[in-house]
Structure formats: C-alpha cells, structure tokens
C-alpha cells in the first residue's frame, strides 16, 4: 500500500481532495440537501393540489379582515381585499414552477440543439450559428423577455416563450464547447475507423458524454428562469389572472409597504426559498456529475 502511494506520488498522480476533512461537514450538507428536496416537494404539492394545502380559497375576500398582520388564523396575514396571503402564495406556486421548468426545457432543447449542430458540423454552420448566438447575447435577457412578453400580451405561454429566449445562448455555447471537446477524443476516432456513421457516432458516443454539464446548467437555470419570470410579473407584464402569481402579488403589495410589510415579504420569501432549493439541488448535481469533485461539498 505504502509503495503504491509512493509510486503514485512519483508518477505525479496527486491526491485530488487534499483538503477533505471527515466527520461533521458532509453530513450537514446532506441536511441542507434534504431540506431543499422537502421544500421543492412542498412547492410541487402546492402546484398540483393547491386546494388541499391552502387554508382558504385564494379569491375569498372578507371585508372584516382587511390587511390583518400575521396571526394564527392567517399565518401570512391578509391583503387589502381581505384575501389570505398564505393561500395566495400556495396557489401562486403553480405558475412560477411551470414557467421555470417549461422555459428551461424549451430553451435547453433549442440551445442544446444549436450548440450540438454547431460544434459537431463546424465550418460555416458553426460560424453562422455562433454569430447568431453572439447577437442574442448582446441584448440583456430581462429586456428581451420584457419586450417579447409585453408585445405578445399577457399569457402563460407567452411568458414561457419570453423567458426561454434568453436562456438559449448559454445552453448553445456550453453544448458547443462540450461537443468540440469530445468529437476528437481517441474513442471517437476509433469508432469512425471501424465505420460507424457520423450520426451514429454522435448519437451513441458524443451526445451521452456531453450531457452532464447541460443537466447541471438546466437545474441551476430553472432557478434563474423562476427569477426572470417573477421579475417580469413584478414589472407588470405578467399573466394577469384572478389569482396573481408571486411576482404580481409582490408588486401589488408594494403600494402598502409602509402599513403591511407581510404582503410583500411572504411571496418574495416563497420565490427565494424555491429558487434556493433548486440551486442547492443543482450544486449537488454538479458535484456528483463531475468526477473530479465527487465527494466534495461544493
């Protein structure tokens, strides 16, 4: 064993985790992970069956309990129509989750496809696609989404379209880099030499090997899309329904900030908690999927 170790040192194989300390830390990270998973499960539950989890119907207004501070009957207080803020937050989670997941699915598929084609085919195709991505990148995502969402008008699908547009460049560039890095590896050259078709090589070897960073980016991207989506609602181009989503709730509560802090605080807390949980999962996935970091805590 000792000789083995010395040999490794001589050969320059370094210990990859020289700073790792045992004991308390990895366990405490798992607590964070479990808490994040539980929070996501709760929000998912709210999205699927809000009528079970919300204490009141979200549209129920009672004129005798306007802008009540948090209490046992209304843990998050009530708003200016006497609606229960907790119930509104529970009902609002559906749109936020949907926008986050759907826009990353669309943006990731579109961006991933652009990046894969660009990197694998190369040449003129690559040049044209990448210049297009460069152009898309120069326009700040929020502005692009704001412009598209306001022009298309208020609807959930338009919102998804607007948010996903801004996520395309990141996925395209990452996928292109991955594909470029893999397509000249020895095992790819070997498959070519035994006569596997170009598409066959891509499908069986390049694609599976290039996906894991994309999965990480997608997970962390869900958090980002939820933020963009609720930001758009906050700025006033939201879905506009009877039941407001979190961003809109926050923006409505802003007018009552001096007298009712709870209307703004709790929807924001919901956004932050959901995004934080998604990001904790994303970080964990990143560490798991990157063999160099496996076993580390961040």
């Amino acid at each position: 064993m000792r000789e083995r170790l010395n040999l490794n040192i001589m050969l320059g194989k370094r210990e990859l985790r020289p700073y790792r300390t045992g004991g308390l830390r990895p366990r405490s990270y798992n607590v964070l992970l479990i808490a994040a998973a539980a929070a996501i499960a709760w929000f998912a539950g709210c999205a699927i069956a809000p009528d079970w989890l919300a204490p009141y119907p979200p549209t129920e207004m009672s004129s005798d309990s306007l802008m009540q501070p948090p209490s046992w009957a209304h843990p998050f207080g009530t708003d200016y129509f006497g609606r229960d803020v907790l119930s509104l937050v529970v009902y609002g989670s559906r749109d936020s989750l949907f926008i986050g997941v759907a826009s990353i699915l669309i943006g990731g598929l579109a961006g991933g496809a652009i990046g894969a084609i660009s990197g694998y085919i190369g040449g003129l195709t690559d040049a044209v696609f990448m210049r297009a991505v460069d152009v898309l990148m120069t326009i700040p995502g929020v502005l692009l989404a704001l412009a598209v969402a306001s022009a298309l008008g208020p609807s959930l699908f338009n919102m998804v379209a607007a948010v996903s547009l801004g996520t395309i460049p990141g996925f395209a560039r990452l996928m292109r880099g991955q594909t470029l890095g893999i397509k000249n590896r020895p095992y790819i050259v070997a498959s070519r030499s035994v006569g596997v078709t170009r598409f066959g090589i891509y499908w069986k070897h390049v694609l599976p090997n290039s996906l894991s960073p994309l999965v990480v980016m997608a997970t962390l991207g869900i958090g980002g899309s939820i933020l963009t989506g609720s930001g758009l609602s906050f700025l006033g181009v939201g879905v506009l329904k009877e039941i407001p989503d979190w961003g809109e709730l926050l923006s409505q509560g802003r007018s009552y900030l001096t007298v009712a802090w709870w209307i703004c605080t709790f929807p924001g807390l919901a956004i932050a908690l959901l995004v934080l949980s998604v990001n904790v999962i994303g970080d964990w996935l990143r560490d798991r999927l990157d063999p160099r970091r496996r076993g580390e805590a961040n």
Binding site: P140, L143, L146, A151, L174, L227
Partner: protein, 318 residues
C-alpha cells in the same frame, strides 16, 4: 497584434448592427401597434389613424423602415420618442448619469466583496469564512433582486429611516439599490472565484512552490490568485452587462431616474424608437466590455493570445 485588435473591433461592430436589426425585426413582427398607446383607437376616425401611421413611417414595408432607421442612425439620429416627441439620443444622454452611477457603485461592491470573500473562503476552506462565502454565493443566485431591494427598503428606510426610500440624487439614495445589486453580483463572483482558487490550489506547481519554501502568503497571493483570476474576469464582463439589466428593476423599486426605468416604460407603451435606442446602447456597452475582457486575457495570461480565448465558464455561472 494590431491586426487582431482591428479584426475584433470590426466583428464587434457587426454584432452591434445585427443585434439592432434583430430587435427591429422582432418588434416589427410582434403584434401590437404604437398607435394603440397614443390614441384611443376605437374612438378615432380611421383616416386620422392612417395619417398618424404615415407620419410615423410605420405603414412602410419592413426593409424600407430598416433602411430609414439605419440611414438616420449613420447621421447620429436615433429618432424621436412616439409619446413625448423628444429626440431619443439626448433623452438617453440625460438619463445616463444616475444609471451609470448605480451600475458603477454596484459593480465596485460586487468586485470588492466577491473577490475578497471568494479568495478567503478558498484559503480557509471549511472555516467560518467559507461558510459565509458559500451562503452569500447561494443567496446571490437565489434572491430575486426586486425582493431583496424591497426588504432593504423596509428595514433601512421605512423602519430605521437611515436612507431615503426613493429618488436619485445624492449618495444616500444610491446606498440601498447599489447594495442590492452589488451583493447579488458578489454572490455570482464568490462562486466562480472560490471554485477557480480551489482548482488552482490543487495544481502541482502550488505544491512545488510550497516545497520550495515560499511563505503561504506568497504562494496564495502572488501565484494562486493570479491564475485564479482568469475565469473571474469573464464573469466580471458578464456582470457588468447584467448590472444594466439589474438597473431596470432597481430603478422601478426605488423610483429612481435612469435608463432602466426609461426602457421598461418605453417597452410597456410600445415606444419603439426609445426601445431601439436603449437596446442599441446596451448592445454597444456589452460589446465594448467583452472586447476589453478579451483583450485583457492576453495581457493577464501570456498563454492566451487572443485567438485562444479561454473556454466558456458556461454552467458554472448560472
């Protein structure tokens, strides 16, 4: 070297031109008409609407509108606002200072806090500083900027009354919005700096430097930090671009004057020339910053000679 730089500048110009074409086409294709926000369409006779459309030039076919736009652009004319009939360029110039102040102070906060925390957390790994840094990093990518802005507003201006809740003159109005944007930026930066420091610290040459007997301080600050800064610079470039987008929200939350507020108002009222102008401006800013970032690589890292720009940090950032 000079040729490479000139080549980069030319391609940057191309990117700016195509991004303004793109925005023009998007805004042209999307439904919605600037006339809607100027007059009540249902109550206005169709002849008046037709003559208004003619006056604005929005009844012409797309290629001609584009040609008109770029023709004017070359003469330094960005058109006039549909709502206020002010020329766009002076309007942008007038709104620029408060936005620039906000973006610059936020970026400074992000750089100072982000770099310091990132480096210290990598050095004192798993210590209390590291825990704080990782917490800041997670919060930075998880907090909605409008909410953290509102929280700061609630605590520091409504409860404690230390800072004014709105307005855009003087440093006291700058404190809360720039802290909001700066700390979020710091969160992004901490994650990158920490990771890249840790990566550099496990390189064989660091072991060699330690073996050579250099003090830990010299190893860290003279060697590890310099190498770890390269990915950080990419992020700083992206952050500077993000700051502009962040000001859109901050200027709404804190009722400040500025470009961000101007463009969100213009988008909501379909004031095309203003939208076009601000997006052109932000594209120029973005491209210039990226050009500087690219050029700085070759200055900081002798191995990089422009053509071999270091790979995207992609997934690590967002």
């Amino acid at each position: 070297m000079v040729r490479v730089v000139i080549g980069r500048i030319v391609s940057s110009l191309l990117v700016v031109v195509s991004s303004s074409v793109l925005v023009f086409v998007i805004m042209y294709l999307l439904p919605g008409d600037p006339i809607d926000s100027m007059v009540n369409v249902a109550a206005t006779p169709p002849e008046v609407i037709a003559s208004l459309r003619h006056q604005l030039g929005v009844d012409k076919p797309l290629p001609q509108q584009l040609a008109d736009y770029f023709g004017k652009l070359l003469r330094g004319d960005l058109g006039t606002s549909l709502l206020t009939s002010e020329p766009v360029l002076p309007k942008i110039a007038a709104q620029l200072p408060p936005t620039l102040e906000l973006a610059a102070v936020s970026l400074a906060i992000a750089l100072i806090v982000g770099l310091a925390l990132g480096v210290l957390s990598a050095i004192h790994r798993n210590g209390p500083i590291d825990w704080i840094a990782r917490f800041v990093g997670l919060l930075g990518i998880s907090m909605p900027n409008f909410w953290s802005g509102i929280l700061l507003l609630l605590v520091f201006s409504i409860r404690l009354g230390w800072f004014p809740a709105m307005g855009s003159d003087g440093w006291r109005t700058l404190a809360l919005p720039s802290l909001t944007l700066g700390l979020i930026g710091a969160g992004f930066l901490v994650r990158i700096v920490r990771n890249s420091m840790l990566e550099v610290m496990s390189e064989p040459y660091i072991v060699m430097l330690r073996a050579k007997g250099l003090t830990e301080r010299a190893v860290m600050y003279r060697h590890a930090l310099r190498n770890a800064l390269i990915p950080a610079i990419t992020v700083i470039g992206l952050l500077a671009g993000d700051m502009l987008a962040g000001t859109v929200v901050m200027e709404t939350v804190f009722a400040r004057q500025g470009i961000g507020r101007m463009i969100s108002d213009a988008i909501l009222s379909k004031d095309m020339p203003v939208v076009q102008g601000v997006i052109l401006f932000s594209a120029v800013v973005y491209v210039v910053i990226n050009l500087l970032v690219d050029l700085s690589y070759s200055w900081i890292d002798p191995r990089v000679r422009l053509r071999h720009r270091t790979a995207d940090t992609g997934g690590a950032i967002r």
